[in-house]
């Protein structure tokens, strides 16, 4: 087992070395002439306004939560998938119960609309309203 993971570790080490060498080489070769415009944040030619640290929308959080729960489910199902061939119907039924209970969670979130992506609902100005002087 350790040898297999050793290969993974080797990849890590090579990755670190590779990135380290490229950064070091780049810093040796590249010219270094900064000015304020070069240092500014690139925003497609616009002048950057305000802080980039803005609050995230909560819906990302809910989606990440749902993802986490099903991530754990997959992890728990993985050992089952390895052995169930030798265990037969009994193991299949055991997994079905497990799976059914968790699927209910997905159904619940779906039915309650937690998975819906809340779209912005812009109010389109209507010409006649503008003429009448309403908002």
């Amino acid at each position: 087992m350790l040898t297999n993971f050793g290969i993974i570790l080797l990849f890590f080490i090579i990755g670190f070395i590779f990135v380290g060498i490229s950064i070091a080489a780049a810093s040796l070769i590249r010219p270094h002439k900064p000015n304020p415009i070069k240092n500014a944040t690139y925003e497609c030619g616009e002048v950057a306004l305000g802080s980039p640290w803005i609050r995230f929308n909560t819906r990302f959080y809910v989606i990440a939560l749902v993802f986490l729960i099903f991530d754990v489910e997959i992890v728990l199902l993985f050992p089952w998938a390895v052995v169930f061939k030798g265990l037969g119907w009994y193991a299949f039924a055991a997994m079905l119960v497990f799976f059914f209970i968790l699927t209910l969670g997905l159904v619940y979130d779906w039915g309650k609309g937690y998975l819906d992506w809340e779209k912005p609902n812009p109010i389109v100005p209507v010409l006649s309203d503008l003429i009448d002087g309403k908002k």
């Binding site: 052995v83 061939k85 009994y90």
Partner: protein, 503 residues
Amino acid sequence: MFEQDIINKFVTNVGESIQLMQPEVALLITFVLALVFDLIFKKTRSIAGYVAILGFIVTGFLLCTADSANAGGFAQMVAIDPFSNFFKLIILLASLIVVVMSLFSKELYTESRTLGEYYSLIAGMTLAMFLLSSSNNLIMMYLSIEMMSLSSYVLAGYTKEIKRASEASLKYVIYGAISSGIMIYGISLIFGLTGTLNLYEINSFLANADINLWALLVPTLMIIAGIGYKISIVPFHFWTPDVYEGAPVTITALLSVASKAAGFAMLIRFIKVGFVDSMFGGDFWAVLHLDWQHIIALLSVLTMTLGNLVALWQTNVKRLLAYSSIAHAGYMLMGLTVMNDAGVAAVLIYFFVYLFMNLGAFFFVLLIANKTGSEDIEDYQGLGYKAPAISVCMVIFLVSLTGLPPTAGFIGKLYIFTALLQNPDFIWLAVVGVINSVISLAFYVKVFRNMYLRKVDEAKETFKFSIPSIVLMFALAIPTLLFGIYFSPIVNWAEQSVGIFLR
């Protein structure tokens, strides 16, 4: 690939185990159905509540009609024995009463709140507490404690637009996470020491192997800290007042009775099966070089004294009842101290009694909060004249919580003190318990005085309560009185229920 024999044996075992665990299966189905019905019938907010009530009744039926089994299920993962059945019945009754109470709560039934999750989570929590009271393996114990905690964190913060409710929930989560972390650390140490997580195997390992018993002390203390947090015994009680005050009244009632019962069931089983009741002779509890009985006695003294003394200064009734429930945990620990059947039976009797009186007191708080929107003790002035019927019930509950005859609370305390007095070492503990009961009289009387003895200037308006709520109130008050006079069935039942399944 694997031996077919082992698998076949397991399939049969699973069949038998499911037979034994019918109540749990019923609860699982209740939980699932409550969620599904809530999704289907979106218009009826209480539909999940009705499903839960129905499911609890079915579960109770299965629990009562089951043969008095004494066996292990799922490869000794759980034990179905009279002891766990007693606690399951208490937990089930508490959950059922709390669900019915919730139907009356104005705090929960505000404009836009959906309540499907509320009732389903109560069903899920009940399932967790069932499993906890019969779990026989440390992994099972940890899983069910986590399941119970997760649902109670959410339930405590269910009215999350109220600031103190979300604060309560957050505090509960943080304390709970730390305590469960400590507990699983202890479990892992026990596994390292004994090589098993099964309580019987731990016991037999201790009997046969020569291990450093001192080393067992650290993990045991860690696990007791984890359970102690759930039942709020004193060094681990800090969350209790804040959570009890912030959570909806119904959930406070559930936490103070049901989850405490499940925690006590686990604590008793952990101590008795793991260390005391040996199948091989010898009491490892005593071998642990420390006088464990005195440690538990000390915890109990701390718990009841602190609970009672701090309760004296409380002005919020929910907070007062929170400290009072800490004190009651202390009384029940006294029964555990003597570590014999009489002590355990006394704890069982106490729990049965505590169920009615504590739920009743919280139901009174709920009904009054429905009318006045306040839980302050000052606002209870003159309630004895404004709401005479339920106030009489409240007086019964208060007398019973103090432990005076002729109420059931007296019987509970009587049996605990009797169990203590059989052991000459613990007479001092009984004396401390009596002194504490006297202190507790002071703050229960404070509630009574506000209700009856303070003059009200306002005109005599009376509160009207719906018939079902008054019926429920009396359904809680009558047993509190009745079992104070006619208690032999409870005592017999509890004495039969001390049998913990031993392999």
